[in-house]
Amino acid sequence: MPLPPDRVDYSPIIDRPPIKWPNGARVALWIAPNVEHYEYEPEFDGHRDPWPRTPYPDVQAYSYRDYGNRVGFWRMLEVLDKHNIRCCVSLNMAVLEHFPEVGEAMMQRDYDFMSHGIYNTRYLNTYTEEQEREFYRDTIDTLKRHTGKQLKGMLGPAISGTERTPDLMAEAGLIYHTDWMHDDQPVPIKVKSGKLVSVPYSIELNDAPLFRQHYEGDYFAEICKAQFDQLYQEGAESGRVMCIALHPYLTGQPHRAKYLDEILGYIMSHDGVWQTTADDIADYYIANYYDQAVDHASRING
């Protein structure tokens, strides 16, 4: 199997049925702010330490992220609104419970929401099968209760998962998983029941890994524009997906917000951009291309 654990058939991008996005768009652009809460005193699961710098609490690390909900989120919204962006938020569901004003602001804008777990300090890796099933019930119910929306997809909490995750997501009725990042188009993920696709998220066009290093906002703008230029060119043949992943505590910093403005101004000035959400990309792909992609991949792999 090309990519263990036999979840994905190999399918080279140069030899695939072309994807045509709505209105002939070349690039499906989705903007994914990670709206999160990191716990003050999380429980250590024995594997991944949420606050490795000091014994808990780590007030510096905690409050740096808390800045996102108190201040950064609101500055980021101003920029997104200026460009009429409809986001697909990667949401720690507990934010809806702790910080209702944040939830209301997102609902007013009719954002879509993918699950990013409950808290960004609670990872899936050690969950039993039953705990993980309960986790999906909880995230689906919490989103429905607070927003009326049906949950369709997930970026694992802090990008965590188990070997069972795709099967259990599909069993719970979810249709997309964004942890894979192995393609510029959606890709069917094999599951025991139902249909699940990968929608490309980004760990590269992502302010969190970038700004832990010495790179700054101008570099983020440069790589987002270069990524767009390349995908826009290739998308004339077969539609591409571009995701920009944001964190309000980083992009909402006063010295950074203008670079998001620059990125969105550049991309949105082009014709042929489908500014959409991962929910809509997954729906559209499953309705129009999923079966074709499965058939094609089975031929490629003999």
């Binding site: 809460h37 716990e39 003050y40 005193e41 999380p42 429980e43 710098r53 000091t54 014994p55 808990y56 609490p57 007030v59 510096q60 409050s63 740096y64 808390d66 800045y67 909900n69 108190r70 201040v71 989120f73 609101w74 500055r75 507990a94 419970e97 702790h98 910080f99 209702p100 004003e101 944040v102 602001a105 409950i118 808290y119 609670r122 700004f211 832990r212 290093q213 010495h214 700054e216 910093q253 006063p254 010295h255 917000a257 203008k258």
Partner: protein, 304 residues
């Protein structure tokens, strides 16, 4: 204790308050931005006690085997050389310094403490030593004694008790704000989550958070992230410009936390000078010490 899923924060130190839903904060003379520059004087110990805790990179360089002359010397540069450059630049721009001094510096560098006082600095508590962070490993009694040691050392060195506090490496246990207020501290700079001061909760009296801009802390930007110094100047200027714009609507705070061993190096100081020129040449900027800002906030809280 893991969070309970309910409204508000997952601890009892302050209330949830998104900046977009707050009343309006007005600074003196309707200034848009209050600027506070905190300068840290940290003493790294030659041999810290075995039960002490510090971050792996505190002191500038990663740990070497004992004795680590370079690690200590790099910090000591701040006390011997860097601080004087930083104070000169602040004085040039009319910024009253807020100097965070730990107990070991206060006890062992009387010349330096007196010099800071002579330059008009406000002195705030900064723990006992760089190599002794406050963490939840401490018992309540040990933490209380630690805070007392720090406050007492500053009181005897300066003749008055400190009003403000910045923990070494922003370290706190889950009890720290309350123990600080019990020790007479009125504001704390450990919480880097806002662009305005805000009240902390304590049964022992009033205490406020004076939030530092974490990304503009020179250790975070220059040492941990390795942002180059020209870009650092630009971060401060760009950040200020946005705060200045937003501060027209609702007053903002720009609190810089600087370390003389780092920003006081000859090749760096000019960039700080230029960044502060950019800020201080604007109208509507109020440069003040930590307690001046907190006192104003206390007496003129945000109004709806």
């Amino acid at each position: 204790m893991p969070a309970e899923r309910r409204f508000g924060m997952d601890h009892e130190h302050y209330d949830w308050s998104p900046i977009s839903k707050r009343g309006i904060l007005r600074w003196p003379d309707n200034a848009r931005v209050a600027v506070c520059v905190i300068v840290d004087l940290d003493h790294p110990e030659w041999q810290p006690p075995e039960d002490s805790f510090t971050t792996p990179f505190a002191g500038g360089l990663s740990a070497r085997s004992f004795p680590d002359y370079a690690r200590l010397g790099h910090r000591e540069y701040g006390h011997r050389v860097g601080i004087f450059r930083v104070l000169d630049v602040l004085e040039k721009h009319g910024i009253k310094p807020t100097v965070a001094i730990d107990a070991m510096t206060a006890e062992n560098y009387p010349y330096l403490v007196q010099h800071c006082l002579d330059r008009g600095a406000e002195i705030i508590g900064h723990g006992v030593a760089l190599t002794r962070m406050i963490t939840s490993n401490m018992t309540e009694e040990a933490e209380r004694a630690y805070i007392a040691q720090s406050v007492d050392a500053l009181t005897s060195a300066t003749g008055s008790a400190p009003a403000g506090w910045l923990g070494p490496e922003y370290g706190e246990s889950s009890r720290t704000p309350q123990l600080l207020s019990q020790a007479g501290i009125r504001y704390v700079c450990d919480w880097v989550n806002d662009e305005q001061p805000y009240p902390l909760k304590s049964p022992h009296g009033e205490i406020f958070a004076l939030p530092v801009m974490s990304e503009l802390d020179d250790v975070v930007a220059l040492w941990d992230r390795r942002v180059n110094i020209g870009r650092y100047q630009q971060l401060i200027e760009d950040g200020f410009d946005v705060l200045y714009q937003d501060g027209q609507q609702n007053g903002r705070l720009l609190a810089l936390n600087l370390h003389p061993w780092l920003i006081g190096q000859p090749f760096r100081i000019g960039y700080l000078d230029r960044a502060l020129s950019h800020i201080m040449r604007r109208e509507g900027v109020w440069a003040a010490s930590g307690s001046e800002i907190v006192d104003w906030y206390r007496n003129n809280p945000p109004t709806a």
